[in-house]
Amino acid sequence: MSAQELTARSDGLRRRRAVNRSMELLAWVAALIAVAILGVVVFDVGRRGWSELNWNLLTKQPIPFSFTNAPQGLANAFAGTLVIVGLATAMALPVGILVAIYLNEFAPPRIRNGVGLALDVLAGVPAIVVGIFVYSLLVVGGGGQSGIKAAFALAILMLPFVARTTIEVLALVPNALREASLGLGVPQWRTTVSIVLPRAVGGILTGTVLAVARVAGETAPLLFTSSLVGPQVGWNPAHALQTVPLAIFELSESPDPKDHARAWAAAFVLLLFILLASLTARWLATRSARKIAGR
């Protein structure tokens, strides 16, 4: 190898190292920018929300067109969100689990793929289209808006999520358990209900908590199904109920700084709830992973 070749090779190496360094730098910069943007959003919502937070937000109802400084809150929105998201979970959870049981324990592969595709497609339907769907299916000519109909719309958004996570958890349950149970003469349904499901319950809970966190902030489907509301606090899902995301949406478009303050505070509470839910979900996930594996 001549000296010239050696220099050329080390030149090449130097260039390659330089390219490497600059690319690494770019990745650092990209990461930094992204983290900065994301951090600013979270921090800003947190900062503004925290400073506007007080008990009135949860306990007082809004006063429409108020000229006064009387304390206002969004008690009606928090009540409505509790009712609607609760109902949506009650609808989506059992159906999602049943779908998962069917796909994982019973369905022949072709059906499994077909229904799996349907779930993926359902997950890809934009929330606003789900809103149109529920509106034209249930609201028009069906007695108007109500909390139940809004819950149904949210349940549609939750269903693929719950079903998918449950399928994944069920698939993790060791087959040896099923075989042992069946070997002892336990029928398949009892095996599923009392051996497989209890093993998977932590994972299902994780998925559910995440799904709840996801739909609690969903606005678009509520726009057409539960938006004709007054300031009164209501718990009856047969009527339209105000919700937190819709309230934030409306307040965000107001010119009044006092309305903005309430919007920030409500956004903060919503965000806090979602963060807590995610943390809970992560905690449940680590716990249930241990349990599924049988350790």
Binding site: A70, V139, H239, E250, E253, S254, P255
Partner: protein, 354 residues
């Protein structure tokens, strides 16, 4: 010299004090009595301030709760058509299509107010900007694009107009304010009439959209050079500035309650469907100060409805002088409806039954 903005703020503060006392009294009785009858309504954001006053007052007077959702006139018409609510509210009369879709619906004029051209020009307070119909139309057609345009200058001799780009702001939802505003522009500008027309929602030549009255107010407040149209109560609530408009008598007026009342005097007879347009009222020696962008606002109900009795009682109550007085003040600015319209309203209301 105290300018108009300041005096409005003072009035608002006084009104606020009064309302605070009222709210305190209201809060004391806010613990829900058992099984109140509830009337659910939705629609016009123009009438929403009135219902914010009427609702609690009527609950006190009659023990009936009125639950109103300010979603815009278009949405109000859709809601009553779909029977999603007990009553709809709209500042725009039903179109023939809407009337037939709504079936046995009747529209009853129950309040009178105005939409006003609202602007954000730094340094120019309420009433300091003067406009006339054709100029306003040109601005919204995009033919006048700067505040120092000669056409605007000509109307505002002695006012320093900045070299500032005009941003027009309109409602993005179906709106009765849009109806009144486009109705007015169609009256005063043939180009507007042929190119855009009159409706609750039109094909805007340009500009920024805002949701309902608060949304438009928010865009105007945050956009230097903006001009839009807003129900007068929202302008006052949000301390925005609005223009003096030249009416057909040649006077520049400022949408006070008497000016709005004067415009309504142009109604001599009420047509069968109660559809009335009082924008750009003809020149009249007696009502020289008529505000040219005034509008009746309607409550829409089904003739046959299970809530007939409660609805009739409530609407009759709203039409009483007492109820009309509740919303006729310097910060809500609803004018009392003329007698001829009142009797037409009551005639129509009598048709409503269970």
């Amino acid at each position: 010299m105290p300018n108009l903005g300041t005096s409005i703020r003072i009035v608002t503060a006084l009104a606020a004090a009064a309302a605070l006392a009222a709210a305190g009294a209201g809060a004391a009785s806010a613990t829900p009595a058992k099984q109140l009858t509830t009337l659910n309504g939705a629609g016009s954001s123009l009438i929403a301030p009135a219902l914010a006053v009427w609702g609690p007052a009527y609950t006190k007077a009659a023990g009936v709760e009125v639950n109103y959702s300010s979603v815009g006139s278009g949405a109000g018409i859709a809601a009553i058509t779909a029977k999603t609510v007990d009553f709809g509210a709209s500042d725009a009369p039903l179109t023939p299509d809407q009337a037939s879709a709504c079936g046995d619906c009747v529209q009853i004029p129950w309040a009178l107010s105005a939409t006003v051209p609202t602007y954000n020009i730094p340094g120019l307070h309420s009433g300091q900007l003067k406009l006339d119909g054709p100029t306003l139309a040109k601005i919204f057609l995009g033919r006048i694009t700067n505040w120092d345009d000669p056409a605007v200058k000509k109307l505002n001799a002695g006012v320093r107009l900045p070299n500032l780009k005009i941003t027009t702001v309109h409602r993005s939802d179906g709106s009765g304010d849009t109806y009144a505003f486009t109705d007015y522009l169609s009256h005063v500008s043939s180009q507007w009439a042929s190119q855009v027309g009159t409706a609750t929602s039109v094909s805007w030549p340009g500009g920024v959209g805002g949701a309902k009255n608060p949304g438009v107010a928010a865009v105007i407040a945050s956009t230097p050079g903006a001009i839009g149209y807003i129900s007068v109560a929202y302008v006052i609530q949000n301390h925005l500035d609005w223009a003096r408009m030249k009416n057909s008598a040649g006077n520049f007026v400022l949408a006070s309650a008497p000016d709005i009342e004067a415009a309504a005097q142009s109604v001599k007879t009420v047509p069968a469907g109660n559809k009335m347009s009082i924008v750009d009222p003809p020149k009249n020696a007696k009502f020289k100060n008529a505000w040219p962008l005034s509008t009746f606002t309607y409550v829409i109900v089904h003739t046959v409805t299970p809530q007939a009795q409660a609805l009739r009682k409530f609407i009759f109550w709203a039409l009483t002088p007492k109820a009309q007085r509740l919303i006729n003040n310097s910060f809500l600015v609803f004018a009392p409806i003329p007698t001829v319209v009142l009797s037409a309203a009551e005639r129509t209301l009598n048709k409503v039954h269970a």
